[in-house]
C-alpha cells in the first residue's frame, strides 16, 4: 500500500467516510440501543420509587400499629385501674355491711340478755314474795297453835324459818314450793 505524507491538519476525502461512520453509529445507537437502555433505566427508577413509597407506607403502617398497640395497652391499664378501684369500693361496702350486721346482732343479743335478766329478777322477786308470805303464815300458825311466850318467841321464829328453808330445799331451786306452802298455810288459817 502507498504511504502518503501531507499536511496532517488539512482534512481530505477521508473526512466524508469518517462523517458517514459517525452518522451510522449515531443512527444505530439512537434507533436500536439507547431506547431499551432508557426504558430499563426508567423502569428501574420507577421500581426504586415504588419500593421507596412502599417502604414509607410500611413504616407509616408500623407506626400506626405501634400507636394502636400503645392505645390498647393504655386502655387495658385504665380498665385494670377501674376494676381495682371498683373491687376496693365493693370490699369497703361489704366490710361496712358486715360491721353493721355485727353491731345489730350485738344489740339484739344485749337486748335479749337484758330482758332475760329482767324476767329472772321479776320471777325471783315473786318467789321471794311467796316465800315471805308462807313464812309469815307459818309463824302465825305456830303462834296460834302453841301460844307465844317472850322466851319461846325467838325459838319459834328460828324453827319456822328452818322449816321454810327445809321445804324450799326439798322443792329444789326455782320451784314455787314456798308459794304453794304459803297458800296451803293460808288455806289452813282460813279454816
Amino acid at each position: 500500500m502507498p504511504v502518503a505524507s501531507s499536511n496532517f491538519l488539512v482534512p481530505g476525502p477521508t473526512f466524508v467516510v469518517e462523517l458517514v461512520i459517525f452518522l451510522v453509529v449515531l443512527w444505530a445507537l439512537s434507533k436500536w440501543v439507547l431506547p431499551p437502555v432508557n426504558r430499563v433505566m426508567e423502569a428501574r427508577q420507577q421500581t426504586i420509587a415504588r419500593s421507596l413509597a412502599e417502604a414509607e407506607e410500611a413504616t407509616k403502617r408500623a407506626r400506626e400499629l405501634e400507636e394502636q398497640h400503645e392505645r390498647i395497652l393504655e386502655q387495658g391499664r385504665s380498665e385494670a385501674r377501674a376494676l381495682k378501684d371498683e373491687a376496693a369500693r365493693v370490699g369497703e361496702q361489704l366490710r361496712q355491711q358486715l360491721r353493721n350486721q355485727g353491731e345489730e346482732e350485738y344489740e339484739r343479743l344485749v337486748t335479749r340478755a337484758s330482758s332475760d335478766i329482767e324476767a329472772s329478777a321479776r320471777r325471783a322477786a315473786e318467789e321471794l314474795r311467796a316465800q315471805v308470805a308462807g313464812l309469815v303464815v307459818a309463824v302465825v300458825e305456830r303462834v296460834l297453835v302453841e301460844g307465844v311466850s317472850l322466851a319461846g318467841q325467838g325459838q319459834l321464829i328460828e324453827r319456822a324459818i328452818s322449816e321454810v328453808e327445809a321445804q324450799a330445799a326439798a322443792r329444789g331451786p326455782g320451784s314455787s314450793g314456798p308459794v304453794s306452802a304459803g297458800t296451803a298455810a293460808a288455806t289452813r288459817a282460813g279454816q
Binding site: M1, P2, V3, A4, S5, S6, N7, F8, L9, V10, P11, G12, P13, T14, F15, V17, E18, L19, I21, F22, L23, V24, V25, L26, A28, L29, S30, W32, V33, L34, P36, V37, N38, R39, V40, M41, A43, R44, T47
Partner: protein
C-alpha cells in the same frame, strides 16, 4: 522485529502524519484511519447490540452498567443544562463519548501496516475529529436557529457591544475547530509518545517496557478524559446555542 532493532540503535525515525492510502476515483483515502474507525465503530455497535440482547431492568451486567453510567451522566448533564425539551441531544453526546473513547483506545491494539508497534488511533487523524466537530457545529447552530429564529440567530451576533460581532462569528466558527484539534492533538501526541518510548534502545530494557506500559495506561486515562471533554463541550455548545440572550 530483529531487523528493525539495528537502525533504532543509531537513529529513530518516527513518521508524523503518514497514512496508508487508498486511491478511489482519483481521491486519496487514509486506509488506516478508515480501518481503525471501523474497528471503533464495530466495538461500539458490538457492545451496543450485546447490551440490547441482554438488557434487563433487574440487576444489570457489567456492560449494561457501563452504558447506564454513560447514558445517566449525559442525561443528567443535558437535563441540567438544557431541560427535558432537548433530550434528543442525549444520543448525540452518548455516541460522541462512546465512539471517541473506542477510537482513543484503539491505540492499545498492536499495529499493522507501516506502524507495527501500535495501531494509530483514528482520532489522531483530523478527518474523524473534524467530522465530529462539523456535526456538532451544524446541529448546535441548527438548534440555535430553531430556538431563536433566523433573525434572532443573526441578531445575537450583533448584540451590544456591536463591534464584537466579528469576534462572535469567529468564536462560533472556531468552536468546532478547537473541539476537533484538541482531541486530535492529545491523541496524536499520545501516539508520538508511544513511538518515542518504544524507540528507547533495547539496552535500557526493562525501562522501555515499564515506560510503555505506564504511558499506555496514562494514555487510556487521557482517552477517557478527551471523550468526556468532547461530549461535555457538545452539551455546553448546545446550551449556549439555545440560550435566549447572548451566551
Amino acid at each position: 522485529m530483529a531487523s528493525g532493532l539495528a537502525p533504532r540503535l543509531v537513529a529513530i525515525n518516527i513518521p508524523v502524519g503518514d497514512h496508508v492510502t487508498w486511491r478511489v476515483a482519483g481521491l486519496s483515502f487514509d486506509a488506516d484511519t478508515v480501518w481503525t474507525s471501523l474497528i471503533a465503530c464495530a466495538a461500539v455497535l458490538g457492545l451496543g447490540f450485546y447490551l440490547r440482547s441482554k438488557v434487563t431492568a433487574a440487576v444489570p451486567g457489567k456492560v449494561q452498567l457501563f452504558w447506564e453510567v454513560v447514558v445517566g451522566w449525559v442525561a443528567d448533564q443535558v437535563e441540567a443544562g438544557l431541560g427535558k425539551r432537548y433530550r434528543h441531544v442525549v444520543p448525540l453526546a452518548v455516541t460522541i463519548f462512546m465512539l471517541v473513547l473506542a477510537a482513543n483506545w484503539v491505540e492499545l491494539l498492536p499495529g499493522l501496516w507501516h506502524n507495527t508497534d501500535y495501531l494509530p488511533s483514528p482520532t489522531a487523524d483530523v478527518n474523524l475529529t473534524y467530522a465530529l466537530g462539523a456535526t456538532v457545529f451544524v446541529l448546535t447552530n441548527g438548534a440555535s436557529i430553531r430556538a431563536k429564529g433566523l433573525g434572532g440567530y443573526i441578531k445575537a451576533f450583533f448584540a451590544p457591544p456591536r463591534w464584537l460581532a466579528p469576534i462572535r462569528a469567529l468564536e462560533e466558527l472556531m468552536k468546532p475547530v478547537t473541539l476537533a484539534l484538541r482531541l486530535f492533538g492529545n491523541l496524536f501526541s499520545g501516539g508520538i509518545m508511544i513511538a518515542l518510548l518504544l524507540a528507547i534502545p533495547i539496552y535500557f530494557f526493562p525501562a522501555t517496557i515499564v515506560f510503555s506500559v505506564v504511558w499506555k495506561l496514562f494514555d487510556m486515562f487521557i482517552g477517557v478524559i478527551q471523550a468526556f471533554i468532547f461530549a461535555l463541550l457538545t452539551i455546553l455548545y448546545y446550551q449556549f446555542a439555545v440560550a435566549s440572550e447572548g451566551h
